[in-house]
Amino acid sequence: MNEIYQSMENTGFATWIRESGSIWAYPIVLTLHAIGMGMLVGINWALDLRLLGVAPEVPLMSMERYLPWAWYGFWLNAISGVVLTFADATTKMTSWVFGVKMGLIVIAVLVLLQIKKQVFVKHTSNGKVLAAVSIALWAFAITAGRLMAYIGPVSGLKNVSN
């Protein structure tokens, strides 16, 4: 496996992202990853809060209109996340904290899809339990993401700890 990670890291693109020193390489990708996080988690949390009773005068079904913005955030982070992973594959792919983060994101996305199905499509649930679980999962996913700079194998950029 390590050869695969090594070859990911050695691609021209991954090397440029990591070593060019250009503001358009690592720094911008990292910025997009933070903005995508804010969109995905933020919009998802706003939906969760509404499900839990915040802003009760908002027609619940209309909250579905915000979901595309959460998905824009998701895809922005899927793409920027793949780029960041390639740039540092030997470390990221062997970090158990990274694995935990990915697992939490998968579960959180499945929960969001369940909210869509049960609340907006089939109207079989008020979504309160799912909303509470969703809030916690995203908070844990962010925590795991941050801890990648502290626990397990840590590399990141030279001279930059995160």
């Binding site: 910025t31 933020g42 915040v54 802003a55 027609p59 962010i142 941050r146 801890l147």
Partner: protein
């Protein structure tokens, strides 16, 4: 001015809180970073849903109704103000000489004046009476665009602290 900032920063570094943040409390920095990202998401989402409505998305929602999310955005900002202050107290010289930090503060200021204009400049009154499917006035759309650009800018400059500037 620089002398004053420098002396103040040196004094900060003599405090117990500064020592705790700068390594005395082992997980202090990581914990505050995590909370800072959680606050960022809470702020962006809670304010974002109002901005998007004022730009014409989710039109079935009366703007006044979605405005009830704002206190959660304020909570996100409060989390980030507190954790941000703790970073500053822990390592003031990472920030006072950092051009990215200056720009981050500038963009927070822009976002702040935009909010003042929204509440005191009559924009909130204009959207308060709007019902479902009503098109918000131009002033509300401008406020929304400024809000989105300003908060994205805050994130950008925050992320640039170690790259453009000298933090970490």
């Amino acid at each position: 001015m620089w002398h004053l900032i420098s002396e103040f920063s040196k004094w900060l570094m003599t405090t117990q809180l500064s020592h705790d943040m700068a390594g005395g409390w082992k997980w202090g920095w990581a914990t505050c970073e995590t909370l800072h990202f959680i606050g960022l998401s809470l702020l962006l989402g809670s304010i974002g849903v109002l901005d998007l409505r004022m730009l014409g998305f989710a039109k079935h929602i009366p703007p006044k109704a979605i405005h009830a999310m704002v206190p959660w955005g304020v909570a996100g900002f409060a989390i980030n103000l507190i954790t941000g202050a703790l970073f500053f107290i822990g390592a003031p010289f990472q920030y006072v000489k950092n051009i990215a930090f200056l720009f981050k503060l500038l963009f927070i200021l822009i976002a702040g004046f935009n909010i003042l204009y929204f509440y005191l400049g009559g924009v909130r009154k204009q959207i308060e009476n709007l019902g479902p499917d009503d098109n918000p006035p131009l002033s509300a759309k401008v406020v929304s665009w400024v809000s989105i650009i300003a908060w994205f800018g805050v994130i950008y400059w925050g992320r640039m602290l170690p790259f453009v500037g000298n933090a970490f």
